[in-house]
């Protein structure tokens, strides 16, 4: 992959005897939204901390925007923006001061900095709060401010660590809009989240990490299809005859009688099998009363690959 902006090779990191990350390799393409998913304690945060130069590289290599994280951390820091999972705002500063401090930390020129601050406060609708200290803001406002701050420097890569945790649905949707907008302007997004719908909506590609290793990678569609757990719910005029017909179709894995009809497990792309199945039933003269196709969600993918037990 020549257009990779993040290249991680065989990354490993231990805290004492505990292997937090155990040989992870992946690449993120320039301009994409990449979701990095995993249960609590899977190694996500450790990986992000290494990628953002907050933890040293113990084994393996990481290159971001052409710079080696271990050898040129300061160059890497200039190319990235981060919205941390936990709140990282000085409660005693005002909204404007938070952004001014951030712009100065990233060595933005005064005029450009001041212009961008206005733009950002407008984007997240905090203009009216410019001189209000952070301790007087609501949780959603603080999160919006942190997102505005992360976007302010127009980084090449933006790390978003659970950006919408604890936000109301309106704010989440607005946040997704910002993320798409920024991504549309060329910033690569590295996203972690526990909301699978969020990952599914936003990302071009997904990797799931568990026990310090990547268990699966691909587009959301690929992962969901690969699961082969599409289910078609059918109500027919005669379930007995319908079962006999269905049993003769290759892509049908299993048929079960359920409360209001049949549930048909498909081992292929359900959307492609559905017309075939309907055509066969019609051929045999069976009445079809209702059809419902259920594709697996990313939640199903996630649980399939990481198991059901609750993590620490």
């Amino acid at each position: 992959m020549t257009d990779a902006i993040i290249e991680v090779q065989d990354l490993a990191h231990s805290f004492g005897d505990v292997k937090a990350v155990d040989g992870v390799s992946f690449q993120v393409r320039k301009g994409e939204v990449f979701s990095f998913l995993g249960p609590n304690g899977a190694g996500k945060s450790t990986t992000i901390n290494i990628l953002t130069t907050l933890l040293p590289v113990q084994r393996g290599s990481v290159r971001i925007a052409g710079h080696d994280v271990a050898r040129e951390p300061e160059a890497v820091r200039r190319e990235i923006g981060i919205v941390f999972q936990e709140e990282t705002l000085d409660r005693d500063l005002t909204v404007w001061e938070i952004l001014e401090f951030h712009g100065r930390l990233y060595c933005m020129e005064r005029a450009a900095r001041r212009r961008r601050i206005e733009e950002m406060m407008g984007l997240v609708e905090l203009d009216a709060k410019r001189d209000v200290q952070i301790k007087h803001l609501s949780g959603g406002m603080k999160r919006r401010l942190e997102i505005a701050r992360g976007l302010m420097t127009r980084p090449q890569v933006l790390f978003l660590d659970e950006p919408t945790l604890g936000l109301d649905p309106q704010t989440r949707m607005r946040t997704w809009e910002y993320i798409r907008k920024v991504n549309g302007e060329g910033t690569t997004i590295f996203l972690t989240t526990h909301y699978m719908d969020e990952a599914d909506r936003l990302s071009d590609r997904v990797s799931i990490i568990d026990h310090g290793r990547i268990v699966v990678s691909g587009t959301g569609e690929e992962l969901k299809n690969a699961l082969g757990e599409d289910v078609i719910y059918l109500e027919t005029g005669n379930d007995q005859s319908a079962r006999a017909v269905l049993a003769g179709i290759d892509s049908v894995k299993d048929v079960k009688q359920s409360l209001r009809g049949l549930s048909v497990a498909i081992n292929d792309d359900g959307a492609r099998c559905l017309p075939v199945i309907l055509a066969r039933l019609k051929e045999k003269g069976l009445e079809i009363r209702s059809v419902n196709l259920k594709k697996p969600t990313l939640d199903d993918v996630f649980v399939h690959f990481t198991g059901r037990e609750i993590r620490g």
Partner: protein, 278 residues
């Protein structure tokens, strides 16, 4: 030009002036020391510290003037030892992640915090001197305005180097500590011997040998020596003792402070370079 440290400095000073109560306390507290401790002690000490016979032309210094240098030293010591605590709060509030992940060099973080701590000490020292002169401290006896300006510059030089040294130390401890309570404990443990095993409030000549040796390597002693030289003079009598400070003594004290600050800087710089946030 590399001026990133100004960003850190700007924010720390912003916070310093934002908390009116804390600001007020930090400005008034040293003045209170002068007013109560100074006046009370000097009214007692001056009764028996007057030497029976002073050589003609000798300068006798009342205790209030003598200990004013000590109050400057005490204030600088405490302000500097606590100066790094904002780093610890930043760490606990998660703000340090934002700073450490930004392109600002670590050395500038150290420099910015230290310079703002030094500024706070300077403000306090000026307040102590002005207040002290108002309540009867006889600094700069018979000096011309030019001399006074030079003397004040000299005092600020000694205070500056000393405070930087302790700010580097305090920053190092803060970066390694987990809780403000821990830092508080360390500071209490450090400040007591540093303050009392020194010439801040009394002469060291009469100390037992071990304490005397300790006072010689104590940076506080060297700062007080420098302040007294600038504020009072090279040759004076106080608390029954005769104080003579030669220009060489002064240079030794300056050199000792510089060496102390340099060692502390190297340790702090190394700590900051290795700093990780989990």
């Amino acid at each position: 030009m590399a001026t990133e440290f100004l960003t850190i400095y700007w924010r720390d000073m912003l916070r310093f002036f934002r908390f009116r109560g804390l600001l007020f306390a930090s400005l008034v507290q040293p003045a209170l020391w002068m007013a109560f401790f100074g006046v009370a002690m000097s009214s007692n000490f001056d009764r028996f510290s007057m030497p029976a016979a002073l050589p003609p032309g000798a300068l006798f210094v009342p205790y209030l003037t003598f200990m004013a240098a000590g109050v400057i030293a005490l204030t600088t010591l405490f302000t500097s030892l606590f100066g790094g605590i904002s780093l610890l709060f930043d760490k606990n509030w998660g703000l340090m992640r934002e700073i450490l992940a930004s392109p600002i060099p670590r050395s500038h973080l150290l420099l910015g915090i230290s310079l703002s701590g030094m500024t706070k000490s300077y403000i306090q020292v000026v307040i102590i001197m002005v207040f002290g002169l108002l309540i009867g401290v006889r600094f700069f006896p018979g000096a011309s305005p030019l001399h006074i300006a030079l003397a004040v510059a000299g005092i600020l030089l000694f205070v500056g180097i000393f405070s930087l040294g302790f700010l580097f130390l305090s920053s190092t401890i803060s970066m390694r500590m987990e809780t403000p309570e821990g830092l508080q404990g360390v500071i209490t443990l450090l400040s007591m011997p540093i303050f009392f095993v020194s010439n801040a409030l009394y002469p060291v000549d009469a100390f037992p040998p071990v304490m005397q040796a300790a006072s010689v390597v104590n940076p506080l002693t060297h700062m007080v020596t420098g302040i007294r030289y600038c504020a009072i003079g090279p040759d004076f009598y106080a608390l029954g003792g005769h104080y003579v400070t030669t220009p060489l003594d002064l240079l030794i004290s300056l050199g000792a402070l510089l060496a102390f600050a340099l060692v502390m800087f190297v340790i702090a710089w190394w700590t900051f370079k290795k700093a990780v946030v989990t």
